[in-house]
């Protein structure tokens, strides 16, 4: 019967069911999306593994009909990574990369659809200069890990000399030759993942609970009419439960449709650098089933729970006699219970094994549920003490005093999200230093470095970089090793030292030179790696030294260098890479001709970073000098990838959750306004200013949200402090994150209020007084 009532009642009835179904549907869609995440991650991982071309542990392969020489030419454009490969198939059976039908000829390239779009757009102008290949095709979905991934395979010639086993390799197959089980994740990171999931899913649950109560007042009036014709109290509850069940079932259908629509649209969006293909998003069946069962069950339970405080009598619709005061004691028990569950893990730290997942989930859950339980009490207690101000304030305060429950329900989702986010931000801030490595790079002096400039190209590179827009200074330095014996001999050289190659200007960056001419060789002392003694042993005029001509993958030919006479002794100073090296310093003309092709170097660049796109200009110059040159933007710190991924996950999730909560707020706001359509019209009829009513709506939302954010910050800080104690980190309040998260929460409310104003103005039209 409840099911029938849900759909009966003409337009009003349908609108009510539609609101509930849309609300529940949005929540269900997000839950289904969550259940699809494990599969999406697995597919991304599998596809990434399937196209691996690493050969670190492979032996040198000879050229054959089934070999491919492949070079890593990754790049970055406006902050987005570009996966680039230069390929040279050496025979008809060369392995084909996933997603490719055939390899492009030299000078041609096949690109990912996203890269094609970028290259075709005005935004991609600078990138077109960097990738001067003709686009002859696109990479298929199996060769990409995301719909927005920027990737290309470009045909190349003569890559064999570049084979070094790491950047350029000869391979016979793609994929990981030695797949290993995933690394055991750090307990603290697991703790972070658990808390992120709980924090993100809790607001969704709160939202679903709010959605099944849409249209509650109208339903209560209808139930009163049923009592009049003989329905008893238990029957009305059953009917209400039936209505909620029907609404939630329609919500499940809507949720599935929203999910499928979202899945379809997922291919066209990229959030914080992560994109997926729709085919990745397949919910895990067991989890999807859990959602299908839990949501209707929760809808029924929430409805029955909500009706506990409502007395529906046959006459007088719903008797809204003063409800009994909310009790604090059991509401406090929830967060206290949560703290009690987390307490045994305080001080456990990283070194005492994994945290008990059930206690973590249970504890965090109870603390956050505590927010939803405490908030109605806090709102009731505070608004009861608020005085009267102007009319807008008076209307809002009185409304809250009469019914603070629905206002508290409206902001519960935001409060839970903010509490969780504050705690997580604290935890992230507290353990950030453990996952952040100081690179030692002096970003004041050098902002970019271009490395892997092979075959002596680096010597002339400085000039080309100096001519690049935005470059203030370019210092090109090559590095070699010399030893007292052949590097091919057994036991390698007994004594060795480094040789730094550069023109006079570049060498002046690493040592104090009084005079310098091309052809000079110097001996630098005072380095920070204790090489002075070895260098002194080797730096004897006439002594034959052997250059290391190997590439790290195979050993090279012996190349002997007789130490010249007249070596100048100089003092080593801190160079652009922040090191002080002892060893030989050599100007280009002093380098044996045969070594010119074997030396590889890097260019350190000082940039005018106010020049727009300066990094792109540098990368373009580097690509023109050597397509395999690696351009690195220096940073003072670098973070663990896993840590960054979890943080990114939190941001992606929080964005989705806040959007959902915003939508929920808007729906409940509109629903409440619809209920008061006649009254609003009457108020307008006797001359109430629209501004007064709009302000009253704003206050009605702003007061509970302010209280909600205050409570959320308190619970969030408590949870954050407990989590920090659990991981053994120093407890410190990250006020910036508290203010940021509260600010985001407040912004959502402001946006929702602004969006609800046009419908409010429509409802305030005097035509609303018409009853016929």
């Amino acid at each position: 019967m409840g099911g029938r009532f849900a759909f009966a009642g003409g337009r009003e009835g349908w609108v009510r069911v539609l609101l509930t179904a849309v609300g529940v549907g949005l929540g269900v869609a997000l839950l289904l999306l969550t259940t699809a995440i494990p599969n999406a991650l697995a597919v991304r991982h599998d596809r990434d593994e399937a196209r691996l071309d690493y050969t670190y542990d492979q032996k040198h392969k000879p050229k054959a009909a089934d070999t491919l020489v492949i070079s890593d030419a990754n790049s970055n454009y406006h902050g987005s990574d570009i996966r680039g490969r230069l390929v040279e198939p050496e025979g008809p059976r060369a392995p084909l990369a996933p997603g490719l039908a055939t390899y492009p000829a030299p000078g041609d390239m096949v690109v990912s659809p996203a890269l094609k779009r970028l290259l075709d757009s005005a935004d991609g102008k600078l990138l077109r200069d960097r990738l001067p290949y003709r686009v002859v095709g696109t990479i298929g979905e199996p060769g990409l890990i995301g719909s927005h991934e920027l990737a290309y395979y470009a045909g190349a010639k003569n890559l064999t000399p570049r084979i070094d086993g790491w950047q350029t390799a000869r391979i016979t197959a793609f994929g990981n030759p030695h797949p290993s089980p995933p690394d055991k994740t750090d307990p603290v990171l697991i703790l972070l993942i658990l808390v992120v999931f709980v924090v993100l899913l809790m607001p969704v649950a709160v939202f679903i609970a709010a959605a099944v109560r849409f249209g509650g007042e109208r339903r209560d009036r209808r139930l009163a009419a049923l009592r009049l014709v003989g329905s008893d109290s238990r029957m009305t509850r059953r009917i209400a439960a039936g209505e909620a069940l029907a609404g939630s079932l329609v919500g499940l259908v809507f949720g599935t449709v929203f999910f499928l629509l979202g899945r379809h649209l997922a291919g066209s969006v990229e959030i914080l650098g992560i994109s997926v293909f729709p085919s990745y998003l397949n919910p895990t069946p067991a989890l999807a089933l859990l959602v299908a069962v839990t949501v209707p069950a929760a809808a029924v339970l929430v409805t029955l729970f909500a009706m506990r405080g409502v007395v529906i009598e046959p006459l007088g619709v719903v008797r809204t006699a003063k409800p009994s005061r909310r009790r604090l004691w059991w509401r406090l028990l929830l967060p206290l219970g949560g703290l009690a569950m987390l307490a045994p893990m305080i001080g456990q730290g990283r070194s005492n094994g994994e945290f008990n997942q059930y206690l973590v989930i249970g504890g965090v859950l109870l603390l956050l549920v505590g927010v939803t339980a405490l908030l109605p009490w806090v709102v009731e207690a505070v608004v009861a003490r608020l005085g009267t101000g102007n009319v807008a304030w008076q209307l809002a305060v009185r409304r809250l005093q009469l019914n603070s429950g629905s206002a508290a329900r409206m902001v519960n989702g935001i409060a839970v999200a903010v509490a969780g986010a504050v705690a997580l931000q604290m935890l992230f801030a507290g353990v950030e230093s453990d996952y952040t490595k100081v690179t030692g790079q002096n970003v004041e002096q050098t902002q970019m470095q271009v490395q892997n400039l092979r075959g002596g190209a680096f010597i002339s590179a400085a000039e080309k970089f100096s001519a690049t827009k935005g470059v203030r200074k370019a210092t090109a330095l090559g590095t070699l090793q010399v030893g007292d014996r052949s590097w091919n001999s057994k036991g390698a050289p007994g004594t060795s030292s480094s040789v730094t190659v550069g023109d006079c200007a570049a060498l002046r960056e690493v040592a104090r030179l009084t005079s310098c001419h091309d052809g000079d060789v110097f001996v630098a002392r005072g380095g920070d790696r204790g090489m002075d003694a070895d260098t002194a042993k080797l730096a004897r005029p006439g002594r034959k030294l052997y250059f290391d001509t190997g590439d790290g993958f195979s050993k090279g030919p012996d190349l002997v260098w007789p130490v010249p006479s007249g070596l100048q002794q100089v003092r080593a100073i801190k160079g652009p890479n922040e090191n002080v090296y002892s060893g030989f310093l050599m100007t280009p003309a002093a380098l044996p001709h045969r070594m010119t092709g074997l030396v590889s170097g890097q260019v350190y660049l000082s940039l005018d970073e106010s020049v727009p796109d300066v990094h792109e200009y540098v990368r373009n110059t580097a690509a023109r000098i050597d397509p395999l040159a690696d351009s690195i933007v220096w940073a003072a710190n670098e973070q663990s990838t896993k840590f960054t991924s979890i943080r990114t996950g939190l941001l992606v999730g929080a964005t989705c959750v806040l959007a959902l909560i915003g939508a929920s707020l808007l729906v409940s706001q509109l629903e409440q306004l619809r209920e008061r359509k006649m009254l609003l019209s009457a108020l307008i009829a006797f001359g109430t200013r629209r501004r007064t009513l709009s302000l009253s709506v704003l206050w009605q939302t702003a007061i509970p949200i302010a209280l909600g954010l205050l409570l959320a910050s308190t619970v969030g800080l408590t949870l954050g402090a407990v989590l920090l104690k659990m991981v053994g980190a120093t407890v410190g309040v990250d006020w910036a994150s508290v203010l940021t998260m509260s600010g985001i929460g407040a912004t959502v409310v402001l946006v929702v209020t602004l969006l609800s104003l046009p419908p409010l103005w429509r409802l305030m039209r005097p035509e609303g007084l018409r009853t016929e």
Binding site: T320, A321, T388, N390, V391, Q394, L395, R398, R399, Q401, L402, N403, M678, L679, A682, L683, I684, A685, F686, G687, T688, R689, T692, P766, E767, L769, R770, T771, E772
Partner: protein
């Protein structure tokens, strides 16, 4: 319909349609200060629409409405709102009291909207509540009082600003006859004592009996009926 000299509110040849439904089709109306005029007619005849047009709540599609010599059509929405706040009072069928405000706050609301301080507004409100015999309900909320009491509070709210015209749309429609008559007695007595004109929409002859004159609306057209004394 002619426009008798000295009329406070005059409407001529009003037309108003809601979609395909013609609610008013050339209706006219006039009222003098202190006069009580009942607009009668069956359900759906257009009487409430006529009241809404007269009060400047709904603009007519054509025709003219003049209040105190001023054409309502030439006024902006804000000016019409100000007019309703200061010169007009309203009583609706279901009271339409703000459920979250107490009775005295409800009565004081129009004064507060006009900028009167809370204390002064509530003092004046209490005076009107005494006249309408509901001062004992001042701290109750509308949900806690009976329909008749609520309607008397609504009448007090309509009169508290000292309006020159009181619009009452089926003010007794939701009340039993005893309560209805009491509300009408109090409403008309209070209006006459302040020389306020009353535009009373009703379909009950018993209620219309409190008026000085009746205007019948049928199919959107109005006809003035002289009362046989």
């Amino acid at each position: 319909m002619t426009s008798p000299a000295g009329s406070l509110l005059i409407a001529q040849d009003l037309r108003k349609a809601y979609g395909p439904t013609l609610a008013l089709d050339g209706a006219g109306f006039s009222i003098h200060p202190g006069e009580v005029v009942a607009i009668m007619g069956p359900s759906g005849s257009g009487k409430s629409t006529l009241l809404h047009c007269l009060a400047g709540i709904v603009p007519p599609d054509s025709g003219s409405i003049t209040y105190n010599g001023q054409e309502l059509a030439t006024m902006s929405d804000a000016q019409r709102s100000a007019l309703r706040r200061s010169e007009f009072g309203f009583v609706f069928q279901f009271g339409q009291l703000v459920p979250e405000l107490t009775c005295v706050e409800n009565v004081a609301l129009p004064l507060r909207l006009n900028g009167t301080s809370r204390k002064a507004a509530e003092k004046a409100a209490l005076g009107w509540m005494e006249r309408l015999e509901v001062d004992n309900l001042k701290d109750k909320r509308p949900g806690e009082v009976s329909g008749g009491q609520g309607q008397r509070v609504a009448v007090a709210r309509a009169l508290v600003t000292g309006p020159r015209v009181l619009f009452a749309d089926e003010p007794t429609g939701a009340l039993d006859s005893l309560n209805g008559e009491r509300v009408m007695e109090l409403l008309t007595d209070a209006a006459r004592s302040t020389n306020a004109a009353v535009v009373l929409v009703t379909h009950e002859a018993r209620v219309a009996a409190y008026s000085d004159r009746e205007v019948v609306v049928r199919d959107g057209k109005s006809r003035d009926m002289e009362r046989a004394v």
